[in-house]
C-alpha cells in the first residue's frame, strides 16, 4: 500500500513543530529559574560558576540540535509529487569524523574545568575555625561541637535544650570542618543554598568536608535536609544552619558549654525527665501515650493541676527516635523527655503544671503534636 496520507498529516507536522518551538520558547522565558540559587558559601560559588559554564554549553547544543530537527521536520515533508526516491545517502566520512571530534573536545573541556572546580570544592583547611560533627540518626540531626583536636566534644545540641535541636550555628567567613556520623542507615547532609551535599555513611569511615559561609550572609538561616532515603521520616528530617559573626558565635558557644557543664545531658533539662532505663514509678497519676507511624496515638491528654505526673511513653516506630516535649502557653519548654529509639518505652516524670492547656510535640517530628489539658 503506497503512502498517500500527505494532506492529512501536514497539519500534524505543523503542530509538532509549533510545539517544539513552544518548548524552546518556554525554556527561554524561564532562564532565570533554570539556575540554582546564588550560593552562600565560597565552595558553592565554585559550583555555581561551573554550572553556568555547563548551562551555556547545554543551551547552545540544545538549540543547535533541536533547530536541526525542526528544520528537517519542516523542510523535508513528503510532497504529493514526490514519487521518486530522495537521494540515498549512506553516510559521509568527513562529516561523521567532524561530529565525533567536536563533542569529544567539548566533553574533554568540561571534564577539565569540572576537575579543577572539584579540587577547589574538596579542598580542606589545615586550621578550620570550627569543627562540627553532624550526627544523622533516624530522623533527626544533632551537632557536636568539637575541640581543636577534632575529637573532644565540647557540647552537643540535643532535645533537652542544648543549643536549638537540629540547628547548627556557625561563624561566617572562616572554614567550618564537618565530619558526618550516622549510627544507623545512610543519610545525606544537604543544604540547597550551599549547592552541596555529602552522604552520611554508617561505619568506621566518616565523610568530612569544609565550607565557608560568605561574610555577607551573616544573620541568615539556611534550610538543610536529609537527601538520602532513610525511612518513613525521611521527608521530615530537616535541619538549619544559622550564620552568625565570630563574636556572636564565641558568646553562644561559651553559653552552651557552660550550660552543658551545669546540667549534664543524661539527666535532661529543667525540669528533668526520667533517666533512661526507667526510674521507679513516681507519685501521681500515670498517663499512657504511644507513638506509631510518626504520630501520637492520642491528640489530647488530661492531667491534674499542681501535681507532678508521669507519662508512660511507648515508641512503636522501629529504629525511630521520638520523645515528648511539653511547652508552656508562652512557648517556653515546660518539660522535655529523653529521646527513645523504638521499639522501646520510657517513663517521663513531668513536673507539676498549673491549670491550663499545654501543647506537646515530639522534638524530632514537629508535625507530631497534641494538647494536654491540665485541670
Amino acid at each position: 500500500m503506497p503512502i498517500t496520507r500527505n494532506k492529512r498529516t501536514r497539519p500534524a507536522a505543523l503542530v509538532l513543530s509549533l510545539l517544539l518551538a513552544l518548548v524552546a520558547a518556554g525554556c527561554a522565558s524561564q532562564f532565570p529559574q533554570l539556575y540554582p540559587p546564588n550560593a552562600s558559601t565560597s565552595q558553592g560559588a565554585e559550583v555555581r560558576t561551573l554550572y553556568d559554564i555547563v548551562f551555556v554549553l547545554a543551551v547552545v547544543i540544545f538549540l543547535a540540535v533541536e533547530g536541526a530537527i525542526i528544520y528537517a521536520v519542516v523542510r523535508y515533508r513528503r510532497k504529493p509529487d514526490d514519487a521518486d526516491l530522495p537521494p540515498q545517502t549512506h553516510g559521509n566520512n568527513l562529516v561523521e569524523i567532524i561530529w565525533t571530534i567536536i563533542p569529544t573536545i567539548i566533553v574533554v573541556y568540561l571534564f577539565v574545568v569540572s576537575w579543577q572546580a572539584l579540587n577547589t570544592v574538596e579542598a580542606k583547611s589545615d586550621h578550620p575555625g570550627v569543627r562540627v560533627k553532624a550526627i544523622a540518626e533516624r530522623f533527626a540531626w544533632s551537632f557536636a561541637y568539637l575541640g581543636d583536636d577534632g575529637t573532644t566534644p565540647l557540647f552537643t545540641t540535643d532535645a533537652q535544650g542544648h543549643g536549638v535541636f537540629g540547628t547548627m550555628v556557625v561563624p561566617v567567613g572562616e572554614p567550618i570542618h564537618v565530619t558526618l556520623h550516622s549510627p544507623d542507615v545512610i543519610h545525606a547532609f544537604y543544604v540547597p543554598k550551599f549547592l552541596f551535599k555529602r552522604d552520611v555513611n554508617p561505619g568506621p569511615v566518616e565523610n568530612n568536608f569544609d565550607f565557608t559561609v560568605d561574610a555577607g550572609d551573616v544573620g541568615q538561616t539556611f534550610r538543610g535536609q536529609c537527601a538520602e532515603l532513610c525511612g518513613a521520616g525521611h521527608g521530615g528530617m530537616t535541619f538549619e544552619v544559622k550564620a552568625v559573626t565570630r563574636a556572636e558565635f564565641d558568646t553562644w558557644l561559651k553559653q552552651q558549654i557552660d550550660a552543658a557543664k551545669k546540667a549534664p545531658p543524661a539527666s535532661g533539662s529543667p525540669p528533668a525527665g526520667s533517666p533512661p532505663g526507667g526510674s521507679p514509678p513516681a507519685a501521681g497519676p500515670v498517663i499512657e501515650l504511644a507513638a506509631q507511624n510518626l504520630a501520637f496515638d492520642k491528640a489530647t491528654l488530661q492531667a491534674p493541676a499542681d501535681k507532678p505526673f508521669q507519662i508512660h511513653f511507648v515508641n512503636k516506630d522501629n529504629a525511630t527516635q521520638h520523645n515528648v516535649q511539653i511547652k508552656n502557653p508562652d512557648g517556653t519548654v515546660a518539660f522535655s523527655g529523653d529521646l527513645v529509639t523504638g521499639p522501646a518505652e520510657a517513663n517521663y516524670n513531668a513536673p507539676a503544671l498549673k491549670a491550663g492547656s499545654y501543647p506537646f510535640s515530639c522534638v524530632v517530628h514537629p508535625a507530631m503534636t497534641g494538647t494536654i489539658t491540665v485541670q
Binding site: 500500500m1 503512502i3 498529516t9 507536522a13 509538532l16 524561564q30 533554570l34 558553592g44 565554585e46 561551573l50 555547563v54 548551562f55 547545554a58 540544545f62 540540535v65 533541536e66 536541526a68 528537517a72 521536520v73 523535508y76 515533508r77 513528503r78 514526490d82 530522495p86 540515498q88 545517502t89 549512506h90 553516510g91 559521509n92 561523521e96 561530529w99 565525533t100 563533542p103 569529544t104 567539548i106 566533553v107 574533554v108 568540561l110 571534564f111 569540572s114 572539584l118 570544592v121 544507623d184 542507615v185 545525606a188 540547597p192 543554598k193 549547592l195 552522604d199 568506621p204 569511615v205 535536609q225 537527601a227 538520602e228 532515603l229 532513610c230 518513613a232 525521611h234 521527608g235 507511624n293
Partner: protein, 543 residues
C-alpha cells in the same frame, strides 16, 4: 542446529491453551508486550498515587511509609517489569523475522524466560499484602535501610522477584545471542543486520555480563537479611557502600539495557518514514558497541556524593559516553535531512524520542560534572533527568514501535487520528509533568520525600507536575481505545503498509508459523527495499 518438525498440531486446542504453551517467538513476543503493558498501567497508577500525595504541601493522603512503598514499587515495576521486558518483547518478535530465521534458537527456554515475569510481578506486588507492606527502600534498595531491622518481609519478596526477573533476562540474552549469531538467513552478514538486531545484540551482551552481578548482590543482601550475613551492614562489620558498588555495576549498564533497543526501534522507523537509509550505518554500530563498553566503567557516577569513589575517573568516562551518544543523534538527524518525511504516528513518536532524549542527554551532562552533581544529586533534577531518558526516551520509542509493528502483529492498521491524539496528549502531559521537576531540583527539593512544607516554595511546580501526570493518564484512553477498535475493525494492513526495509515486511501480516515461505535475496541491510526498487541499496559494508 536444532530444527523443529513442521507438522501442525494434530488435535484442536483452545486459544488459551495455545497461548500458555506456545513456543512461537511471535506469540511469546506478544505475550511480553501485553504483560509489560499490564505492569505499565499498574506502575502508572502507583505513579498517580505518588503525584497525588505531592500535589499539595503537608499532604496526609498516604502515610510516609505507604508513600515509600508506592514510589519503590512504581520504579521497580516500570524498570524491571515494563521497560526491560517490553524491549525483550520487541526483540523477541522482530529479531528472528529481521534475520530471516524461523524462530529463536531455544524456543522452550524462550517461553520459560517469559513465564518467569508474571510470576515475579505477582511475588513483587504480593508485598502489599504482607505485614509491613511492600519494599519501601527505593528501587536501589540501599543497605543498611534494606536490612531486616529496618524493613519487612516485602523486601524479601522484592529480592526474590528481581532475582527471578534477572534469571529470565539472562536466559533471554543467551537465546538472543545464539539466535543472532547462528540463525541468520544466508546472505545476512553481520554488517547487513538491521540496526535493531545490532542493538539487541549489544543489549544481550550487557544483560549477560551485568545482570548476574545484580543477582549476586541480591543474594548477598538476602543472606544479610535472613541468615545473619555481614556483607552490607556496618553494624555487623560490613560495608554499606559495597552494596552501592555492586548494585551500580549492574544498574548503569541496565540504563543502556533500557535504551539501546529503543534506539534500534527509532533507527528502523526514521529511515522508513523518510525513505532514506540510516545515515552512517557502521558508525552507528560502533557507537552502540562503544556505549555498551563504556557503560561498564561509569557505575560510580551514581555515587559521587558517597565520598568513597575516585571521582575524576568516573567523571571522565561518563563524559566520554556523550560522544557515541552524540554520534547517534547526529546520524538520526542526518537521516531526516533531504528525506521525504511522512508524519505517520510512528514517526511522530520517533521525533518525540529525538527531542526528549536530547534533553535527557544534555541534562545528564550536568551531573557528570562532579561538583554540579554535588548540588543536583538526589534532587528532583535527577528525577527529571531519568524520566526524560526513560519516559521521553524509552517510552516514546516503545510507542513508536507499537504503532510501527502493530500492523505486522495483528494484520490491521491502528487508527491514525487516535494515534495522533495519543501522541499529543503524551507529549504535552510528559513535558508538563517532568520539566518543572528540573526547577524543583534546582530549588533544592530532595527526591523521595513523602511531603514538603508549604513554606518551602515548591507548591505551584508540584501542582503543575501533578496536572501533567493526569494528562499522561488521560492519554491511555485513546491508546487503549485505538488498540481495541483496530483489532476488531482496523483497516487491513497488507504485508508491507509502510514500505519497510527489513525482512519482516517480506512475509504476511501476521506472519505464518516459522515466518517465511521464501526469502528475498539479501544483499544489503535493506533487503525488502532492494526487492521493491530492484537495486542494491546497501551501505557497501561487508562482514
Amino acid at each position: 542446529m536444532a530444527t523443529t518438525a513442521l507438522t501442525p498440531a494434530a488435535t484442536y486446542r483452545s486459544a488459551l491453551y495455545e497461548w500458555v504453551t506456545t513456543t512461537d517467538h511471535k506469540k511469546i513476543g506478544i505475550l511480553y508486550l501485553v504483560n509489560s503493558f499490564v505492569f505499565f498501567f499498574i506502575g502508572g497508577i502507583l505513579a498517580l498515587g505518588v503525584r497525588s500525595q505531592l500535589a499539595v504541601p503537608d499532604n496526609k493522603l498516604f502515610s510516609p511509609d505507604l508513600y515509600n512503598q508506592l514510589f519503590t514499587m512504581h520504579a521497580s515495576l516500570m524498570l524491571f517489569l515494563f521497560i526491560i521486558p517490553i524491549l525483550a518483547g520487541f526483540a523477541n518478535y522482530v529479531v528472528p523475522l529481521q534475520i530471516g530465521a524461523p524462530d529463536m534458537a531455544f524456543p522452550r527456554i524462550n517461553a520459560l524466560s517469559f513465564w518467569m515475569l508474571p510470576l515475579a510481578g505477582i511475588i513483587m506486588l504480593a508485598g502489599f499484602l504482607v505485614p509491613g507492606g511492600a519494599a519501601a527502600e527505593g528501587w536501589t534498595s540501599y543497605s543498611p535501610l534494606a536490612q531486616a531491622k529496618y524493613s519487612g518481609v516485602g523486601t524479601d519478596l522484592w529480592l526474590v522477584a528481581v532475582t527471578l526477573i534477572g534469571t529470565s533476562s539472562i536466559l533471554g540474552s543467551v537465546n538472543f545471542l545464539v539466535t543472532i549469531f547462528k540463525m541468520r538467513a544466508p546472505g545476512m552478514t553481520m554488517f547487513r543486520l538491521p540496526i535493531l538486531v545490532w542493538t539487541a545484540l549489544v543489549t544481550s551482551v550487557l544483560v549477560l555480563m551485568a545482570t548476574p552481578v545484580l543477582t549476586s548482590a541480591l543474594i548477598m543482601l538476602f543472606i544479610d537479611r535472613n541468615y545473619g550475613g555481614a556483607f552490607f551492614d556496618p553494624a555487623n562489620g560490613g560495608n554499606a557502600v559495597l552494596w552501592q558498588n555492586i548494585f551500580r555495576f549492574y544498574s548503569h549498564p541496565a540504563v543502556y539495557i533500557m535504551i539501546l533497543i529503543v534506539m534500534g526501534i527509532v533507527s528502523e522507523v526514521l529511515p522508513v518514514f523518510s525513505r532514506k537509509p540510516l545515515f552512517g550505518y557502521k558508525a552507528f554500530v560502533f557507537a552502540t558497541a562503544g556505549i555498551g563498553a563504556l557503560g561498564f566503567s561509569v557505575w560510580a557516577h551514581h555515587m559521587f556524593t558517597t565520598g568513597t569513589v575516585y571521582l575524576p575517573f568516573f567523571s571522565f568516562m561518563t563524559f566520554l559516553i556523550a560522544v557515541p551518544t552524540g554520534v547517534k543523534m547526529f546520524n538520526w538527524i542526518a537521516t531526516l535531512f533531504r528525506g521525504q518525511l511522512t508524519f505517520a504516528t510512528p514517526l511522530l513518536f520517533a521525533l518525540g524520542f529525538l527531542t526528549m532524549f536530547l534533553i535527557g542527554g544534555i541534562n545528564g551532562a550536568f551531573s557528570a560534572a562532579v561538583p554540579v552533581d554535588f548540588a543536583l544529586h538526589d534532587t528532583y533534577w535527577v528525577v527529571a533527568h531519568l524520566h526524560y531518558v526513560l519516559f521521553g526516551g524509552s517510552v516514546f520509542g516503545v510507542f513508536a514501535g507499537v504503532y510501527y509493528w502493530f500492523p505486522k502483529m495483528s494484520g490491521r492498521m491502528l487508527n491514525e487520528t487516535l494515534g495522533k491524539i495519543h501522541f499529543l496528549l503524551v507529549f504535552i502531559g510528559f513535558n508538563v509533568t517532568f520539566f518543572p521537576m528540573h526547577l524543583l531540583g534546582l530549588e533544592g527539593m530532595p527526591r523521595r520525600i513523602a511531603t514538603y512544607a508549604s513554606t518551602a516554595g515548591w507548591n505551584q511546580l508540584n501542582l503543575l507536575a501533578t496536572i501533567g501526570s493526569l494528562i499522561i493518564a488521560a492519554s491511555a484512553v485513546p491508546f487503549l481505545w485505538n488498540v481495541l477498535i483496530s483489532l476488531r475493525s482496523g483497516e487491513p494492513a497488507g504485508d508491507d503498509p509502510w514500505e519497510g526495509n527489513t525482512l519482516e515486511w517480506a512475509t504476511t501480516s501476521p506472519p505464518p508459523p516459522y515466518n517465511f515461505d521464501h526469502l528475498p535475496e539479501i544483499r544489503s541491510e535493506r533487503p525488502v527495499f532492494d526487492a521493491r526498487h530492484g537495486r542494491t541499496g546497501g551501505h557497501g559494508g561487508q562482514s
